[in-house]
């Protein structure tokens, strides 16, 4: 008989896999309450480090061509496909879903990456436009990523809710710091291993595991975060109040559904800024 080699579940910050600087972990149980793994419990410092990593990565990611971003997102789908067994096993263990249900969730997660991958070079064609102003000017409105997004993945979804929180943010060139579901974090960490091998620049996606209620206030009040997605939070009123300090764009609980294989263009554009450029026409 051979003893299997277990995985240490760590954080994902700046493209690296550090333990929590606090040294803390918490036990994660399967759907029957049996111990599955010790998972890193992120601290305030980890959250701040993640924001720094996200900020450092954001302009480069936004500056990549839309074609390039589309290919990276598509590659995430490709890399996921090859890990089906592992994700399905983790989803089943954590949630008690049947094999069929777990496969369905996994399929939807892959399809969501493909759906989003196709948007990178079409957002402006659909949501931007030339403006026929009443004067001799060239006038165009385009959309660009708002910057660094802090997000809290839905608590009741092991993989799909997380994917549908990350993809709409990064498709346009945002960088994200996302806190996974507290009780269902294993697929989130496995997803980071996929992201790390998909040519996604380090720091574009940063994943923290731990207590949402502990980390959320530090991200909601962080002055270098531009937008916040409150879908997976419990104390969302207080967090929206804290987010007002630097006028973060807020995605409220319930604003966009997370459990389909398709997202919403409005979800994507809600994390973008419309920029209008004027230039005179003349000789």
């Amino acid at each position: 008989m051979r003893l299997d080699v277990r995985k240490t579940y760590k954080l994902f910050i700046g493209g690296k896999f550090p333990r929590s600087e606090s040294g803390r972990v918490y036990p994660v149980a399967d759907s029957k309450g049996e111990f599955l793994a010790n998972v890193a419990m992120a601290s305030r410092k980890d959250a701040r480090d993640a924001v720094v990593a996200a900020r450092a990565a954001q302009s480069g990611w936004a500056g990549a061509t839309a074609y390039n971003r589309g290919q990276v997102l598509y590659r995430i789908a490709e890399m996921l496909e090859g890990r089906r067994e592992q994700f399905v096993a983790e989803i089943r263990a954590l949630t008690g879903k049947s094999d069929r249900q777990a496969n369905q969730e996994f399929d939807a997660a892959i399809d969501s990456w493909v759906w989003h991958a196709g948007w990178t070079d079409k957002i402006d064609a659909v949501a931007g436009n030339m403006n026929p102003v009443a004067g001799p000017f060239f006038n165009i409105s385009t959309l660009q990523a708002t910057g660094v997004v802090a997000a809290f993945a839905p608590q009741d979804s092991a993989l799909l809710g997380l994917v549908n929180t990350i993809a709409p943010a990064i498709v346009s060139g945002n960088a994200i710091v996302v806190v996974s579901s507290e009780s269902l974090p294993l697929p989130a960490i496995t997803l980071t291993e996929v992201l790390a091998t998909s040519d996604l620049p380090g720091g574009v996606v940063n994943v923290l595991t731990g207590k949402e209620a502990e980390i959320a206030p530090w991200l909601a009040s962080h002055q270098d975060v531009n937008a916040i997605d409150l879908v997976g939070t419990s104390n969302f009123v207080e967090l929206e109040i804290q987010a007002a300090q630097n006028l973060k764009r807020v995605i409220r609980k319930g604003d966009f559904a997370r459990l389909g294989s398709k997202g919403s263009l409005n979800h994507i554009t809600n994390l973008m800024e419309v920029k209008t450029v004027w230039h005179p026409k003349g000789h």
């Binding site: 659909v126 949501a127 436009n129 403006n131 026929p132 102003v133 009443a134 004067g135 000017f137 006038n139 409105s141 660009q144 708002t146 531009n226 969302f236 009123v237 207080e238 929206e240 109040i241 987010a243 007002a244 300090q245 630097n246 006028l247 764009r249 409220r252 409005n266 554009t269 809600n270 800024e273 419309v274 920029k275 209008t276 450029v277 004027w278 230039h279 005179p280």
Partner: protein
Amino acid sequence: MFEYAPAPESQALVNFKDSYGHFIDGKFQKPGKTYQTINPANEKVLADITYGTEKDVDLAVKAARHAYEKVWSKLPGAERGKYLYRIARIIQERARELAVAETLNNGKPIKETRDVDIPLVAAWFFYYAGWADKLDYAGLGPNPQALGVAAQVIPWNFPLMMLAWKIAPALAAGNTVVLKPAETTPLTALLFAEICQQAELPDGVVNIVTGFGDTGAALVGHKDVNKVAFTGSTEVGRIIARQVAGTNKKVTLELGGKAANIVFDDAPLDQAVEGIINGIFFNQGHVCCAGSRLLVQESIQDELLKKLQRRMESLRLGDPMDKNTDIGAINSKAQLKKIEALVKQGEKEGAERWSPACVIPKNGFYFAPTLMLGVSPANTVAREEIFGPVLSVMTFRTPQEAVTKANNTEFGLSAGIWTEKGSRILKLADQLNAGVVWANTFNQFDPTSPFGGFKESGYGREGGKQGLAAYLKGGY
């Protein structure tokens, strides 16, 4: 310098009532507890205005809700559009009267209200009138729905224009509104109420409640409003963002700015000087997107400043009703004191203050066009919005330094670029964190063109289909 004979516009074009009540459910109410609104150019009282209470706000929201449910939401878009076209036409007909009224109550030059403010007001209604029966084409899928009752709070710098930016898209999308004009500039909003009556707009579709900040707070906080639209300071914007936390109210905030106007060494300098002047002295600098930070490439600083100072010496400050006036009155004593305090603070922190020789009228509130020279990036006048005719001058050497300095602010509303090099414009336009970028021009506005900021300049856009989406479900 030429002498100019006075060329005053006639005040007889407008007749204000002695006192005004709120406009609720299609009717003017009896005035309640009132305060005086004045002409800031000479401090003379123009009318008594009602100080709106929570009860007044509640009455207005109820009227708007009733009109939404019983009338406006049932009207076909084409019919809503026809009301808006009617309003646009009446504004054009009464344009000169509205321009005079705006200048009297706001203090801005008649040439601006006549040539910029009021024409844009009419254009805004005409533009959004056409959207009312074309909502399916707004990019939000078939048959997008209105939100309901919109609470709208507007500032004093472009009183009627801000009203148009708020009311035209709201009504086109099928909402009804309660609007609170700024306490110092309520008169054109009340004239607009008369225009709604002349257009036979159904009762309760537009309601105007006058008053101060607490009146606005009562409106924003009212449980039965579905949309909040605010233009004003970032400070108040933060308060509103906190106030709506945890509700389903959709919010648009147009807040402060500290725009960089970047001039490169290859810019057409005479054109750039006109753009700089327009960028900071248009409307006495009471403009959230004003080009209040001049970033000039070091090699041309001396030449540009010489031209700029020469041009500033020819600016005419004085009676806003005079057709030759370039710089009118500061809107209020409070604003004048704020400008004076910020400029003093800037001097204390090492900036050198310069103004052309100019005669300041005895009565009324005026501030000479001012340059702050040798401003360090940490200086208060380089960071805080002054909202007055004060330009802070800084230099840069490379395009990258220009971008870094321009983006070194918590605001992100607008920016200007002056260069003959097209590729440089396009690169900078990408890199500047600003919702509106003017290249080789400044302070241009148009109803077809979305306007609004990044970062702490607020969120949401006004103008264009984006401005329409702000009043529809599923829009951004």
